[in-house]
């Protein structure tokens, strides 16, 4: 309705665009992380000054500004706890989705950060506090992307 109001013929109007296409780099730390995923590994890093483990790993500790180097990386186990979740029933344009997308925030064991990703279980099987693990795409399909993880599933 509002849109139609905007297009009244007696008001001179025209369409324009703010064209934006970006090419992002993963960054120094981001690349370390994604190359780990490609190998089916979770690489986190540890700031000894703050006793804090970052997943994904960072180039620096944002609390104390210590530089976190390649040697500060450590592999963590593929296991975590679901902190929260939601079912998304609409897409970004507001259209109804046939199958809701389920996303959750997971605290991987041995880390101090939240990790957001899709959940693969049925809605009725999901509960906060459940133990989950990542399901990786088959090795030949991994390309160093956050989507090398298909999603997380409940461990029973």
């Amino acid at each position: 309705m509002e849109q139609k109001e905007n297009r009244k013929k007696e008001i001179i109007h025209f369409f324009g665009q703010l064209p934006v296409e970006s090419l992002y780099t993963a960054g120094i730390a981001g690349e370390r992380f994604l190359l780990g995923l490609k190998e089916g590994k979770f690489l986190a890093n540890y700031c000894p000054d703050c006793d804090f483990v970052f997943l994904p790993p960072k180039l620096y500790c944002e609390f104390c500004f210590r530089e976190l180097k390649e040697e500060d990386l450590k592999e963590i186990e593929n296991k975590g706890i679901l902190l929260s979740y939601t079912f998304t029933h609409i897409d970004t344009n507001g259209n109804r989705l046939e199958n809701p997308i389920i996303v959750g925030v997971i605290k991987m064991n041995g880390t101090d950060t939240g990790f957001v990703h899709k959940l693969l279980n049925k809605i009725e099987d999901i509960e906060i506090g459940m133990e989950v693990e990542a399901v990786f795409a088959p090795k030949e399909r991994r390309r160093g992307s956050i989507n090398d993880i298909v999603g997380f599933q409940r461990i029973d």
């Binding site: 703010l18 780099t25 993963a26």
Partner: protein, 386 residues
């Protein structure tokens, strides 16, 4: 005028065409280098100011929020400021009033730009700055503004393109001595005049490049400055000013907004005769003619006379008034906001005698950095002294 404000540390990344680092990581490297340069830790910093130009460059909306952790802002009062190309120098004015007002004792100022993210070319990010009713239907190009200004400047004062090209020759050569420089090179006036015409009379070598990079400084007050360094550099004047928002309605051959900003800064610094009292200057030079334009706006020479200073060699590093000893945007590079802060940092290093091979011949006590931006109508000025 509140507390005296000092710059006590500075750091920067290399300026490059495409950085592997994310914007956050670039901001971190610069901020950490600035802190390390004066033995400061993040916990010594009370507040953080971030300068960064349009979100569209990095391709991240709310870039201030995005860059905050790399700028060291966790758990601190934090503000992003933005006046287009004028941001780098303006961010120092913001840091100045944080400290001068007494609200904060220490402040970290970080400027970052990652222009390479924008595809296919960051120039596209500027298309929507033009008026959607009267200009965008004409299919504008950012270079229009500069070409039209340059043409008007040359026509009004009878300036030759050969004279303007000398700015590019000087600055790119100066940049050969800058370890962070992106496009330092030895070129001739002929090279400039033979380079590709982009938007007549602007040619390829008249223009600064697209860059990624970051810069940072540490600011504090007169009571704490010597805890961080034996050689504080004082911010004695800041100024900023807007001209009309309609670029066609400005005087295309004279940057009045720069003059107003400079007058504000000169007054604050108690400078009556800038030509005698300013020892070294870093005017904003995204295009070669702009260095000349801005020298005139800064009242460092009469209108139309800047090219003569250049031809006479007075603006070389060993001249009477060294101009862009760093190599400027034309030589070091132009990651928008970081480029402006790079200019302030160059004056900081020059006044401390730490500019290495770039050190100017004369003993400098007072220097000025200036930037320009928004829809090309903002002037920002900072005056430093020892």
């Amino acid at each position: 005028m509140g507390r005296r404000v000092a710059i006590v540390g500075a750091g920067m990344t290399k300026f490059v065409r495409r950085a592997k680092e994310t914007g956050k990581e670039l901001a971190y490297y610069a901020a950490k280098a600035a802190l390390d340069s004066c033995g400061a830790k993040l916990k010594d910093i009370d507040a953080v100011v971030l300068g960064s130009a349009p979100d569209t460059f990095d391709g991240v909306h709310m870039k201030g929020e995005y860059l905050s952790c790399g700028a060291g802002a966790f758990g601190k009062p934090y503000l992003r400021c933005y006046v287009g190309g004028g941001t780098g120098v303006f961010s120092v004015a913001v840091g100045w009033y944080y400290i001068a007002s007494g609200i904060f004792d220490t402040c970290l100022v970080v400027c970052e730009e990652k222009m390479s993210s924008y595809q296919p070319h960051p120039q596209g990010a500027f298309l929507t700055i033009f008026d959607h009713t009267t200009e965008r239907p004409l299919g504008p190009n950012l270079l229009w503004i500069f070409a039209l200004e340059m043409q008007r400047y040359m026509q009004t004062y009878g300036i030759k393109k050969e004279e303007i090209a000398l700015v590019a020759v000087k600055n790119k050569k100066n940049a050969l001595d800058h370890p962070a420089a992106q496009i330092a090179q030895e070129i001739t006036v002929e090279d400039v005049l033979k380079s590709e015409v982009l938007c007549y009379p602007v040619q390829r070598l008249d223009v600064s490049p697209v860059s990624d990079g970051a810069c940072a400084i540490v600011m504090t007050n007169e009571y704490l400055a010597r805890r961080f360094t034996d050689k504080p550099v004082w911010v004695s004047g800041v100024g900023w000013c807007l001209d009309t928002a309609y670029w066609t309605n400005r005087d295309l051959c004279y940057p009045r907004y720069v003059e107003e900003a400079a007058r504000m800064a000169y007054k604050m610094a108690g400078i009556r005769n800038p030509r005698r009292e300013i020892d070294v200057v870093e005017p904003y030079d995204p295009f070669d003619y702009k260095e000349l334009h801005h020298l005139e706006g800064l009242l460092l020479c009469d209108r139309g006379e800047a090219p003569q200073l250049l031809v006479d060699g007075k603006t070389q590093r060993d001249g009477e008034l060294p101009v862009c000893p760093s190599g400027g945007l034309l030589g070091v590079g132009n990651p928008i906001s970081a480029a402006g802060l790079m200019k302030v940092i160059e004056i900081f290093w020059q006044l401390r005698g730490e500019a290495g091979k770039r050190q100017i011949a004369k003993k400098a006590k007072r220097g000025l950095a200036q930037a320009w931006g928004d829809l090309m109508q903002v002037g920002t000025v900072v005056i430093l002294e020892v």
